[in-house]
Symmetry: C2
Subunit: 359 residues, 2 copies
C-alpha cells in the first residue's frame, strides 16, 4: 500500500525539506552545498528531516540549470556506439581522454546514433560542455552538426582544410615519408597503397582527380608523403595503385584482391591504418604469401594489436593516448581560442617488413 502511494507521489524536492524543517529554501540548499556556513544545530535538523523523508539529495537537473556547467565532455562519432569499445584506435584514444577526465573529475558522454537524424538530435541534446569529434567517415557532417551547437569542440585528425576548427592530429606527410623511406631502403620498388577515404562513401582505385579533390586532407597528405619519398628513390609513383577502402574488412579485402589481380603485384604495401594492415596480413597469409618474405607491410597508427599479431606489424606510431589527453584538456580548459596541434609520429620497425626479394 505504502509503496503504491510512494510510486505515484512525485519525488521530494529541496523545498519540501525546507518547509518540513521550518527553514527557508536558501538555508536548506546551503545544508547540502555549503554545510559549513549553516549552524550545526540547524544543519543536523534539516539533514534528519531529509533523511526521514527519503530525500535523494539535490537533484543534479536543477543544479545544472543554475550552474550552467555540466562538467562532462561528449565524444562523438558517426559510427555506432560500440565503435568506442571495439576499435583499437578508438580505445587507446579513449584511454587518453579518460585519463584527462579522471584527473579533473569530469564525466564522459558517448554520442552517436544509428542514423543521421538521430545523430543530429543526439548532438543537439547532449548534456556536455564540449565535444571531441572522431572524424572518420562523414567527419565533415559531424563538424557541421556540432558547430550548430555552438559549444567548444575539437576534431581529432586534422583532416580539414577548415582552419576555423580546433583540431589535433599528426604530421601525416612526415609519417608517410618515414614509412615509404623504410621500405625503399629495404630495396622495395613495387608498391601498392591501401588508402583511407578521400571523400565520403567511395571505395576502389583512386584516380589523380579524386586525390586532387580530396575532402580529407589527412588522407591526401599521407599519400603525398608516400609519393614524395618514393620519388626520391626513383620510383615512378604514377604507376602505384592506390585503393580507397572504408577501413574495414570487406572493402580492404576487395582492395587486396584488386591489387593482386594486376600484373606485377607489389612487394610492399603501404597501409594508411593498422586496421587495414592487419587485415592485409591475414589476407596474404591465407593466400599463401609470406609476410615479410613475399610482401612487406607498413601500417599507420600504432595500435597495441599491431605488436601482438604475427608477424608483428611495422608501423608509424601516433601518440594516440597523448592526443586523447590533449583533446580532453582543450575542452576542459577551453579559452575560446581555435587551436590546431600537430603531433610527431615515429617509425616502429617490427616483423612485417623485410628486404625486397631479389628480381
Amino acid at each position: 500500500m505504502a509503496s503504491l502511494l510512494e510510486g505515484q507521489a512525485r519525488p521530494i524536492r529541496l523545498a519540501d525539506i525546507a518547509r518540513a524543517a521550518g527553514v527557508s529554501h536558501g538555508t536548506a540548499s546551503n545544508v547540502f552545498s555549503r554545510p559549513e556556513i549553516v549552524r550545526a544545530e540547524v544543519r543536523e535538523r534539516v539533514k534528519a528531516v531529509a533523511e526521514q523523508m527519503g530525500y535523494a539529495g539535490p537533484d543534479p537537473k536543477g543544479r545544472l540549470l543554475r550552474a550552467g556547467k555540466v562538467n562532462a565532455i561528449g565524444v562523438a562519432t558517426t559510427e555506432p556506439l560500440s565503435y568506442f569499445f571495439d576499435d583499437p584506435f578508438a580505445r587507446v584514444m579513449m584511454a587518453g581522454i579518460s585519463e584527462a577526465c579522471d584527473a579533473t573529475g569530469a564525466g564522459i558522454a558517448l554520442v552517436s546514433a544509428a542514423n543521421q537524424e538521430k545523430l543530429a538530435w543526439n548532438i543537439q541534446s547532449a548534456l556536455v560542455d564540449g565535444f571531441i569529434l572522431f572524424c572518420i567517415e562523414g567527419g565533415s557532417r559531424l563538424v557541421d552538426l556540432t558547430r550548430e551547437r555552438k559549444l567548444p569542440f575539437v576534431a581529432l585528425e586534422l583532416g580539414f582544410q577548415d582552419e576555423t576548427v580546433s583540431a589535433i592530429g599528426v604530421d601525416n606527410v612526415a609519417g608517410a615519408r618515414l614509412a615509404a623511406r623504410h621500405l625503399a631502403e629495404l630495396g622495395h620498388r613495387r608498391f601498392a597503397v591501401l588508402s583511407l577515404a578521400f571523400a565520403d562513401n567511395r571505395t576502389g582505385f583512386a584516380t589523380p582527380e579524386i586525390v586532387r579533390g580530396a575532402l580529407y586532407t589527412g588522407t591526401r597528405d599521407r599519400l603525398a608523403g608516400y609519393f614524395e619519398e618514393l620519388a626520391r628513390f626513383g620510383v615512378d609513383t604514377t604507376k602505384i595503385p592506390v585503393y580507397e577502402t572504408e577501413n574495414e574488412e570487406k572493402s580492404t579485402r576487395a582492395g587486396l584482391e584488386a591489387i593482386f589481380a594486376r600484373d606485377e603485384p607489389p612487394t610492399a604495401i603501404l597501409a594508411m591504418s593498422d586496421r587495414m594492415a592487419l587485415i592485409a596480413i591475414d589476407w596474404l597469409k591465407a593466400r599463401g604469401l609470406k609476410v615479410p618474405q613475399d610482401v612487406s607491410i607498413v601500417g599507420f597508427d600504432g595500435v597495441p594489436d599491431g605488436a601482438l599479431c604475427s608477424p608483428a606489424l611495422t608501423t608509424i606510431a601516433q601518440p594516440i593516448t597523448e592526443i586523447g589527453r590533449r583533446a580532453a584538456r582543450m575542452i576542459l580548459d577551453h579559452d575560446g581560442a581555435v587551436r590546431r596541434e600537430t603531433m610527431g609520429v615515429e617509425l616502429i620497425v617490427r616483423a612485417s617488413t623485410g628486404p625486397a626479394r631479389k628480381g
Copy 2:
C-alpha cells in the same frame, strides 16, 4: 572587436528570440519543439530571427529540467574510466549496452572516479535516468552509493545476497560445475583454484572461514560449484588450494607462484575469470610448463581474447552481450519492479584443456 564582445555576451536564449521576433515564448518554443503546430509564416520568421541572432537551438539544460528525463543511462564502476576500454569483459558488456541504447536513442554516461569521495560525488551528480553497476571490487559500496540517488539501477553479477537489488547474472554454480566436470572427465584429480575475491581488499589462500563469510556470493557459488562436482568424482576438495586474487596480473602471478610452490602441484587449474586464465597460460609457458600437456586450464567468462590466444582457452562462456542488452533495457523501460535474472552459461572446449598426464 565583434568577436571580443560576442565572447563576453551571454548566450542567446529562447526568450531573446521570442522578443526579437515579436512572439510569445510559447510560440517560440513551439517553433523548435513542435514546428507543425505553428503557422508557416510565423515559423519561418522566428527561424530567420534565430538564425540571424546566432541562436544555438533550445538549450538541453533548460529542456531537461522541465522534461525530467535525461534519456541517458550511467554505467558506473569503482575502476578508473579506462577500465571500460581496456578490460575485455567490460568491452563486450558495453557492446551489449550500446546496442540497446543505440536502438532507443539513449546516451551513455561513463561514471567512475579516482577515489571514493569523487566517486560518491560523481554518482550523486551524474545526469542519467538510471545506472548499470559493474560490481567488481568494491561492488557493495557502489550499490550503497547508488541507492542514495534513488534512481533505478541494475547490478551486473548478482553477487549480492541483497534481494532488494535488481541484478543480472549467470548461474555460477552450474557454470562452475561444467568446468569441473570437464576436467574431471579428462582424468584430472589434482586441482588448484584461481579465485575472485570473497570480500574486498584481500589476496592469498582462502580459508574455509573466509569462504563461509563471503561478501561476494558469486565467488562463493563458483567455488561451491567446483567443489560439488569434484566431490562427485571422489576428489578431496579440502586439499584444493584456493587463491584469492584481484583479477589482475600481479596478484594472479603471486597466486600461481604460491600454488606451484606447494607439494603436488596441480595438473588442472580452475580460474574464475578468463583474465586470470590468460595470465596463467602466460605464466606457465614462461615457466616451461606446457598447456594442456602439463597443466590444463579452464577459464570463466568467455571473452573474445580467449579464442585468439595460444593455446585457445577452454572456458565457461557467459552471454555477456545479452546481459548488457538486458541490463540497459531494464533501465530504459524501468517499471519500478526489482528484477533478478539469471542467465545460462555454456562450456566452450578449446585447446587449453587435455587429458591428465598418467601417474
